[in-house]
């Protein structure tokens, strides 16, 4: 192969393993020290990777189910108490189901492991779940709870009654809350269509509190936080615009028409978000 070295320059870009290495590949048997060593490495790497993949799968299911629960919670029309209660009941049981099955499986996978090694595999599902959980509590009680309280959703007991828990990183909690404000924005606009303007102001204020709190955070070096804060700011501006329109046009336009007014207003300054 080296005879044509000069003529076949492109070969340099994609070298083949040379003759000697090839011979060695063929002659190395299973008992060779190197073979043994690397086989055990391979097993260790595979094990890690497989566990990671299993968790990613579990996390993906959590994300999907959480999104569905969020959708369900949006279907609530505040007028009908009875319907509201039944939806809330369903949401609660589905949230608990995620906690008791999907998250429990992840926690079981991670027993005796360094959770941070696999954190990236389930952070998305975790954030989505927190988002759904916050929306549920907010819809039900008008408030969200602290990290300590939500931590309970990730604490389990096994058959021998010994406790174990899933790593619940505070960043995931805060990022979940940031996502949750997006849902509040959606809720605010939905409320508007039903003509309930008081709730719009309340929702807007609540998101404003959260935004203010985010402003107070020290720099964390966590890129996700700044990225989500940007989205949060946009949602908040949108809500503030809604409130502004209600205030200024509320008396001129019938309430169910307000949405059209705001939408046409938005088209001028929109950033691609569609309702």
């Amino acid at each position: 192969m080296l005879k044509n070295k000069g003529r076949y320059r492109p070969r340099k870009l994609k070298p083949l393993v040379g003759k000697q290495a090839k011979e060695l590949l063929e002659t190395l048997d299973d008992d060779h020290l190197i073979t043994k060593m690397f086989k055990s490495f391979a097993a260790e790497l595979d094990q890690k990777h497989d566990r990671y993949e299993r968790i990613v799968k579990l996390s993906r299911d959590i994300t999907i189910e959480s999104k569905r629960i969020i959708f369900l919670l949006h279907s609530i029309n505040t007028e009908l108490d009875e319907k509201k209660n039944s939806v809330l009941l369903e949401a609660e049981s589905r949230l608990l189901n995620i906690s008791n099955h999907n998250f429990r499986s992840i926690a079981t996978e991670l027993k005796d492991q360094d959770g941070y090694l696999y954190h990236r595999a389930f952070t998305d599902g975790m954030q989505e779940f927190i988002e759904a959980l916050c929306l549920y509590h907010f819809t039900k009680e008008g408030i969200i709870y602290s990290w300590d309280k939500y931590k309970e959703y990730f604490q389990y007991k096994n058959e021998e009654n010994s406790a174990f828990e899933l790593l619940f990183v505070q960043y995931d909690f805060i990022l979940g809350i940031a996502d949750f404000t997006g849902e509040l924005m959606r809720k605010c606009i939905n409320t508007l269509t039903s003509g309930n303007v008081d709730d719009c102001f309340k929702l807007c204020n609540f998101v404003r509190f959260i935004y203010t709190a985010f402003l107070g955070l020290p720099p964390t070096g966590n890129k996700n936080i700044s990225r989500k804060m940007y989205v949060l700011k946009q949602s908040l501006s949108k809500m503030e615009l809604v409130c502004y329109n209600i205030q200024i046009r509320g008396s001129e336009v019938p309430k169910h028409m307000l949405l059209n007014v705001i939408q046409s207003h938005e088209e001028e300054s929109d950033d691609g978000f569609s309702l």
């Binding site: 690397f38 969200i144 602290s146 609540f206 509190f209 709190a213």
Partner: protein
């Protein structure tokens, strides 16, 4: 302050701020430890550069001895790190020392290669680095493997320079060694991660070394295979 605002601030964001602050403090301490470790690491890398320009056994021997002494500082650093990293949070802060650990692993692997001509195993590497049987820190497999890949690149360079210095046996030893390493790495199912990318560069090192061996052989600088084996044998026993 209204009720919801109070909850948002005191129940949710204040604890989070405390959490961030506590984390930053730990990171600061770690950064300072690693800064010293990296300083020693740079000194070691400089010390070992002598292999590329000197053929004198004694000089190389001294460089190895000096590097071994410098590892004392590294072990002190990792001792301190072990006390700072909270239990089972190795991977939370791992980014701070991953790169240094890989390089250190390479240095350890290089001196073991120079001394004995063999591939360092993971436990020996951990022992040299002072990461063996520690409570909260360890030498993880990926860093160790990464160190070996760095070693292959350095050895490719070493093979070239050894020839320049008139040492025609070294490339043969290196060639055999790296070919074995390559065979080993081929047994791993690497995923699309940094280790995989680094491994993809290994074939260039293998090729470079083989070209050196080829150049030597066509010029008759390695007379017969038998001689070559003897030669590598001799270097090994040194």
């Amino acid at each position: 302050m209204s009720e919801p605002q109070k909850i948002v601030i005191t129940d949710i964001f204040s604890p989070f701020q405390e959490y961030i602050n506590a984390e930053q403090e730990v990171r600061e301490v770690i950064k300072n430890i690693i800064k010293d470790v990296e300083k020693s690491l740079r000194e070691m890398l400089i010390t070992l550069q002598v292999i590329h320009s000197e053929i004198n056994c004694e000089l190389i021997h001294n460089a190895i001895l000096k590097t071994r002494e410098q590892f004392e500082e590294i072990r002190k650093g990792f001792d301190a790190l072990d006390k700072v990293v909270p239990p089972s949070q190795y991977y939370r802060y791992n980014d701070h020392w991953r790169f240094a650990t890989q390089k250190l692993c390479f240095v350890a692997a290089l001196i073991v290669f120079l001394e004995k001509g063999v591939l360092i195993d993971q436990i020996t590497a951990a022992e040299i680095l002072g990461l063996h049987q520690k409570e909260n820190v360890h030498l993880n497999l990926e860093d160790y493997l990464m160190g070996l890949l760095i070693l292959a690149t350095e050895l490719a360079r070493f093979a070239v320079n050894a020839v320049t210095l008139g040492d025609y046996n070294r490339p043969l030893q290196i060639s055999k060694f790296v070919a074995e390493l390559n065979a080993g790495f081929r047994l791993l199912n690497l995923k699309n991660d940094s280790l995989r990318k680094r491994f993809d560069a290994l074939k260039y090192d293998v090729k470079k070394i083989e070209e050196v061996v080829y150049d030597l052989s066509i010029r008759g600088l390695i007379s017969t295979n038998q001689n070559a084996e003897q030669a590598t044998g001799v270097t090994k026993n040194e």
